[in-house]
């Protein structure tokens, strides 16, 4: 394999990996705040992609405007979802397994709503970053590779600043660590959990937007994406911020290399083999989500 191909593959894998990483981050945030494994994270990503399609492609709004509208809509949806659907179940002390099934139900609901609204056919839209590869040192790289990296980097930094530097951010982390103590401080725990859902669906929306130039939108795309995002979160260390990023990137790159060097038919099988190997050797993930790493 030439160096050019190697660089090409790394960029390609990194791009897919960042999408998994964002979804994994959303999963980890909710896991920390509420101990809930959200199986609808992948479908929230799908619907984010379709909302973007509607505003950018059908309604021809400028890319940044459509981008922001999509995030806002999804964020509000996440907030309402938590207030109206998940939080009542928490408050009634439902068995966690039942709430878990609740997220699966939501996933099925979203998937079919997308199917009804936008139809079964795969959809794409014009790549806003241009579809002509840039030739750099003999390597052909798509412009969206760079944009995606920049957008995700800015996003991760902003999220870190929010969680570490603002009172609300600190309160969100406090609720994730000791909910009862947090309520003794006067933090409204339910509100913080809803805010976490808002952040998490916002992240899902962004990954749905960024994925469009890489793979076409289909109603059921969220299923496999979610499973890979779960794999990313588990490999990195469930609940860990850095772990979600590293886990996502590992999966993205491993997938691309396996597909190119071995066979693309079994690339998903390979990823799950990697996950199983991780669960056997290091069940806590790379960054075992210890107290220092919990988001």
């Amino acid at each position: 394999m030439s160096l050019a191909t190697l660089i090409q593959l790394i960029f390609q894998g990194l791009n897919m990996g960042l999408i998994y990483a964002l979804a994994a981050l959303g999963i980890s945030l909710i896991w920390n705040a509420s101990g809930l494994f959200n199986f609808s994270q992948g479908d929230l990503l799908t619907i984010g992609g379709y909302i973007m399609l509607t505003f950018f492609s059908f309604l021809s709004l400028p890319y940044p405007v459509a981008f922001l509208i999509t995030i806002v809509i999804m964020g509000i949806a996440g907030y309402l979802l938590s207030k109206g659907y998940f939080y009542p179940m928490f408050q009634q002390n439902f068995n966690p397994q039942i709430i878990l099934i609740g997220t699966v139900a939501l996933s099925v609901f979203i998937r079919n709503s997308v199917l009804l609204t936008w139809g079964p056919n795969a959809k794409t839209y014009t790549n806003p970053f241009g579809s002509k590869p840039l030739a750099l040192f003999g390597v052909n790289l798509m412009p969206h590779y760079f944009w995606n990296i920049v957008i995700v980097a800015v996003l991760v930094l902003a999220l870190q600043m929010f969680l570490k530097g603002t009172v609300i951010g600190i309160a969100m982390r406090a609720v994730a660590q000791k909910p009862v103590a947090a309520s003794l401080m006067g933090v409204k725990v339910g509100q913080m959990i809803s805010l976490t859902f808002l952040l998490s669906t916002g992240l899902a929306a962004i990954s749905g937007i960024l994925i469009a130039p890489i793979i076409p939108l289909t109603p059921e795309m969220g299923g496999l994406l979610a499973i890979k995002a779960f794999a990313a979160a588990l490999i990195g260390g469930l609940g860990s911020f850095g772990g979600a990023l590293v886990g996502g990137i590992i999966i993205g790159i491993a997938e691309v290399f396996f597909a190119t060097l071995v066979t693309s038919t079994y690339k998903d099988v390979f990823i799950f083999a990697v996950l199983i190997a991780f669960l056997m050797i290091r069940p806590g993930g790379i960054f075992r989500a210890d107290i220092s790493e919990k988001v």
């Binding site: 009172v167 406090a174 000791k178 009862v180 220092s292």
Partner: protein, 236 residues
């Protein structure tokens, strides 16, 4: 300042507190004594709004607080330092203190308050950037009390601050409790170790299986060794 009248609390159908009456006068240290499972922590949790009473009332400065939520009660000036410290392990010492001031968060005032806490507990200043979960038990207890003071409470409720600490550190913590009280904060203290509690408090209540069985000024109550031994066990 705090008056509890005929308070009954239950978990599910099992009553934990049965018609207890208790009063905390301004400026004093009042101790609630009792063996494990007597209902001491339940009393504090009900005052701070984590639990709702079945019947009875709690008034704070003549205002009923028994149906308010925890954040409203903190805002009125009641701060609860929970059993087992319950600091936020993954937050730094400074972030923990900031959380203590959450209900009325003004950055400049919070910085001043944090400095005041550091004056009371210089150890915390040395560790301000450290993750709270990596500190020793004694330091965590100091942090938990410091965090409780950040909301500038009129009443500070301490649930077994001596739990799991070495005697020399307990002595230090109790000195600080006395100091905090002398600076003007009223304190409601829960202790299993009666001698420790008697050393600092003005008035004591003895709780046994959900009922107040004895109360009085500390200097009187501490003389009743037989009764205390019967309720608290021989070690006291």
């Amino acid at each position: 300042m705090l008056i509890i009248k005929d308070l009954t609390v239950s978990y599910g159908t099992a009553p934990v507190l049965h018609k207890i009456n208790l009063e905390v006068p301004e400026g004093k240290i009042v101790t609630l004594l009792g063996a494990n499972g007597a209902g001491k922590s339940t009393t504090l949790k009900t005052i701070s709004g984590l639990l709702k009473p079945l019947s009875g009332q709690i008034t704070f400065y003549n205002k009923r607080i028994d149906s308010l939520s925890p954040d409203q009660i903190v805002k009125l000036g009641v701060s609860h330092v929970p059993e087992g410290r319950q600091i936020f392990p993954g937050l730094t010492v400074e972030e923990n203190l900031k959380m203590g001031a959450y209900v009325n968060y003004k950055p400049r005032e919070v910085a001043k308050k944090i400095d005041m806490i550091y004056e009371v507990f210089p150890r915390l200043k040395e560790r301000k950037k450290q993750l709270a979960g990596t500190m020793s038990g004694g330091e965590q207890q100091m942090l938990s009390i410091g965090r409780g003071l950040m909301s500038e409470p009129k009443l500070l409720m301490l649930d077994e601050p001596s739990l799991g600490l070495a005697p020399i550190i307990i002595e230090d913590i109790f000195k600080k409790i006395k100091e905090i009280n002398e600076l003007g904060t009223t304190i409601l203290l829960i202790e299993q170790n009666a001698n420790l509690a008697f050393a600092v408090s003005d008035y004591a209540y003895l709780l046994a299986v959900g009922k107040i069985v004895m109360e009085g000024e500390t200097r009187v109550i501490r003389e009743n060794k037989m009764l205390l031994a019967a309720y608290l066990g021989g070690s006291n």
